[in-house]
Symmetry: C2
């Protein structure tokens, strides 16, 4: 913040410059189409951001399909809240974290069944927004073929939005995305001994 | 991904090691208390993540207060969706982006009125989760005294969660936070000419 920030005239001039920059940027971005978003990195906020976009989508009277590829708990706040909302198709892939099952064949079968269900959303009759929560994790374990997933995503309808979350997004997925956020953890309460809090982490 | 990833025995051993690490970490994080989260950086996902935590909170039968310190549009999906949800107190600070008003005195007055309202939530009778959306932006323009804001936050009830969003989080706020995510933009569809999409950006 510069020293002159509180001077009303200079403030007005600064805001006018900012307004002009925003206006110019907006004038260059006039295309409407479905976007592929990837939210990756080790920080807090990937899945919760996808959930926020579900809320926004419903607020516009549109529909959302959510596939949770990995679910760490039996009863999450997000599932309790969204599962029965009109316009939401909420699905959960398998049984708990993969490192709690340690049965690769079963996990692969569950991932492939989940992908078949999610792929069914990628069509003209599908929801406006498709959330593929923790898909990156499933791809990292090679439970699904990345090439097949990318092919299916590329064939979705022109106006459909897709949000993919999870650590370690593979580079070809990043290359295919329209918007990519890399969420770094600068600090996490967990490291200070605070366990995952209801309403925040689940 | 290592080459042995698809070998079932090695996979099981790897998952078992991962499970043990997670278990050990969980055993060290047993404290329950309200956390202060800061979501900053220039990437997509700060406000939408806060909205996702509102949904999670409601899913646990808890309550949320949301103060939007900066609102860029007249009718957002999040406001349409959340404003009338039971358990939500939804408030919006002023009139549009600050660079569109360019009247510093009016903005300061609006920010201070908004802070008085938000501060009213930071008490035992207040909501379980308080979202201070774009507070960082308001602090950056020095519309509010950072010291006063930090004092008020530090005096909130022990179990209350607060999420603060916005670019350029000031260092003292980061220092006070329990969890800090720095959301970097690796790419944004806007730069490719796609305008802000309903359900995604608003």
């Amino acid at each position: 913040m510069r020293e002159d920030a509180k001077d009303p005239q200079r403030h007005a001039a600064r805001m006018e410059r900012k307004r002009a920059v925003m206006e110019e940027r907006r004038s260059r971005a006039q295309q409407d189409r479905g976007v592929l978003l990837v939210l990756t990195g080790s920080g807090k906020g990937k899945s919760s951001s996808a959930l926020g976009m579900v809320a926004r989508t419903l607020g516009h009277g549109r529909t959302a399909g959510v596939m949770q590829f990995i679910k760490g708990r039996q009863a999450t706040g997000e599932e309790a809240f969204f599962r029965d909302q009109p316009g939401v198709d909420w699905q959960v892939m398998g049984e708990g974290f993969t490192w709690e099952t340690a049965d690769r064949e079963r996990d692969v079968a569950a991932a492939q069944a989940a992908w078949r269900a999610a792929r069914g959303w990628l069509c003209e009759q599908g929801p406006s927004l498709v959330v593929l929560d923790e898909l990156c994790t499933v791809l990292r374990y090679e439970y699904l073929e990345l090439g097949e997933v990318l092919d299916d995503l590329s064939r979705r309808p022109y106006g459909q939005h897709v949000v993919v979350t999870g650590r370690y997004a593979p580079q070809p997925l990043i290359d295919a995305a329209d918007t990519v956020s890399e969420i770094a953890s600068a600090r996490h309460a967990f490291e200070a001994g605070v366990r995952a809090q209801p309403g925040i982490e689940w």
